[in-house]
């Protein structure tokens, strides 16, 4: 198989619920072995797309191929070869860590001997070996998340779908999880990730699409998107809420673009420090200033006029 073939492709993909259109005709292709992201705020249609790709939700329109098969006709065969990590952990809290893996592995046709060995291996991967025969209920959020991911790996999936993998986790747990996902990618597992966290998308994704209101508004690698839709640096001028409007006219020509947020101005420029100095020279006195590199957050703001979180 060629490594650049599309392992998943959607064309004009639509998902409708009664009178609500959650996904409104999207085109995308995921190549074997890459980490592909759907980035967007809550309600953008990411999860609906993921559920269609994981063959748990029939499409309402358009075309979809997963591993070369049509989910409408080959759902079980596709599910046998993919791993699904849902937004909310749905582990069996009344079973042990080991039992969760073994019971689930059996649904994929693995023998008892195979699931026993697989469970040991996956517990090691998820750093849960010392909890092997403990109930799942009292585990921390990060541990449960890792177990959910381990469970999705029980069939050695070719594609792992992760819906908001780190939402609700503390920073330490997030980084551990990212490390695990990176290991999987190195082993050749194709990763598909939805997230509304910029840093997560930047860390994990080779390529991503930005979704908003059920549509794809941009596509590319994180670096490409930043180059295309933002400048190299951003100068943030923070004001008491409301005072930022007065400064807009004074700084407008200092940057390629100025975004007005409720408590600050964002100045998109190639040289943040120079802009800081010039703003100061013109008598602009913010509470604080910050020069940073542009991120996907800025891309999203540019594309939709809104911030991602909140």
């Amino acid at each position: 198989m060629r490594s650049d073939e599309a392992i998943i492709s959607g064309t004009g993909l639509v998902k409708r619920f009664a009178d609500f259109e959650a996904v409104r005709g999207i085109d995308f292709q995921v190549r074997r072995g890459e980490a592909f992201g759907f980035l967007g705020p809550n309600g953008a249609g990411k999860s609906s797309t993921m559920r269609m790709v994981s063959c748990m939700s029939p499409r309402s329109g358009g075309e979809l191929r997963v591993l070369g098969m049509d989910p409408d006709r080959k759902g079980p065969a596709i599910r046998a070869r993919i791993g699904v990590v849902p937004q909310q952990d749905n582990l069996d809290l009344e079973l042990t860590v080991r039992q969760n893996l073994q019971v689930y592995g059996r649904y994929f046709g693995l023998t008892r001997k195979e699931v026993r060995a697989k469970a040991v291996e996956l517990m090691e991967f998820a750093r849960l070996t010392d909890r092997a025969d403990h109930d799942v209920q009292p585990l921390s959020g990060g541990m449960k998340r890792r177990l959910t991911i381990a469970r999705a790996l029980v069939n050695d999936p070719e594609v792992l779908l992760l819906d908001e993998p780190t939402t609700g986790l503390d920073p330490q747990a997030r980084h551990l999880l990212w490390e695990k996902l990176f290991q999987l990618k190195q082993r050749g597992v194709t990763l598909i990730i939805t997230t509304h966290y910029m840093d997560e998308a930047e860390q994990l994704c080779d390529r991503l699409v930005v979704m908003d209101g059920g549509k794809i508004v941009a596509e590319g690698s994180p670096a490409e998107l930043i180059t295309r839709y933002a400048t190299r640096e951003v100068l943030e001028l923070r004001f008491p809420p409301g005072d930022q409007h007065a400064a807009v006219d004074k700084v407008r020509d200092l940057a390629e673009r100025v975004e007005v947020l409720p408590d600050r101005l964002l100045l998109y420029t190639e040289d943040g420090d120079a802009a800081t100095t010039r703003a100061h020279d013109r008598g602009v006195r913010p509470i604080s200033t910050l020069v940073r590199r542009s991120s996907l957050e800025d891309v999203f703001l540019r594309l939709t006029g809104r911030t991602l979180v909140d």
Partner: protein, 274 residues
């Protein structure tokens, strides 16, 4: 790290198993859970009918003289078969209610199954088979206890458990379908118990013949699955069961089961595949 995770994931190891095997694998998963938590549900599934037998058949029954109302046999022998039917229907309906709703809503393990190669219809089948197995266990315990207590008067008693299990499963299937369509918090199941199961238990011929009911309410007993089960088991255990009525009663229970399975499969599919 072990070998299998290290190899390039060229091909997944999962496969689609046959429908009956899928059902069986899910039942096996339930058994794994049960082995860990059996004590908590023993009272509900295993012992509840036995307690009724002790209280009504042995305790209360000691005060009842055999007569025309009891078909001439001791009250214990009169109610031993029917208490099992009523008990298994109660257990079946209970297991088909909140626990099924929880699979969708709180425990959410049904969603985990839905992301595996096991289909929604197979999941439904497995949950129903699992209930049937629980009822079988309860029936086996009951058969022995009632025998020790002297509740059986003929070999026809051996027909009582299968009929009672059929009645229990036939009632469970449509309740599972109903549970799969329930969006709320499941208070409705308390109502089902209070307004359907409980009156049925009391008035559908388990403890006294329905002919003692006022004529206007008798049809309510006749349409209840419990009455059909009761007629069958009492006839089998005490004798006097005639072919045509027996086939009729059996047909009602089988029809209820078939309709319940059709509705249940559809309801599971509609809830899980959206």
């Amino acid at each position: 790290m072990t070998a299998t995770l290290d190899r390039p994931t060229a091909a997944a190891t999962g496969s689609v198993v046959g429908a009956w095997r899928a059902v069986w694998l899910r039942v096996e998963g339930r058994w794994t859970w049960y082995r860990r938590h059996w004590t908590a549900s023993l009272l509900a599934s295993g012992l509840q009918p036995v307690l009724f037998l002790a209280a009504m058949g042995i305790g209360f029954g000691s005060q009842v003289r055999p007569g025309p109302l009891t078909d001439g046999v001791p009250y214990l022998a009169y109610v031993a078969p029917t208490i099992l039917v009523s008990g298994l229907i109660t257990v079946g309906v209970t297991e088909a209610g909140l626990p099924v709703l929880s699979g969708f809503k709180w425990k959410q393990d049904y969603w985990a199954v839905a992301s595996s190669p096991v289909s929604s219809g197979q999941l439904f089948g497995a949950e129903l088979v699992w209930i049937a197995l629980r009822l079988t266990f309860g029936a086996a315990v009951y058969l022995v206890v009632a025998a020790v207590a002297g509740g059986w008067t003929s070999a026809g008693a051996l027909l009582v458990p299968p009929i009672a299990i059929l009645a229990g499963v036939a009632c469970a299937a449509p309740v599972m379908a109903f549970a799969a369509t329930t969006k709320g918090d499941g208070h409705v199941f308390a109502a089902v118990n209070r307004f359907v199961v409980m009156p049925m238990t009391l008035f559908a011929g388990t403890f006294f013949p329905v002919e003692r009911l006022p004529l206007p309410v008798r049809p309510l007993a006749w349409i209840s699955p419990l009455w059909h089960g009761n007629e069958l088991v009492r006839g089998a255990a005490l004798g006097g069961l005639r072919w045509w009525p027996a086939l009729g009663h059996l047909a009602v229970l089988v029809a209820l089961l078939v309709v319940g399975i059709a509705l249940g499969r559809r309801a599971f599919q509609r809830r899980l595949v959206v």
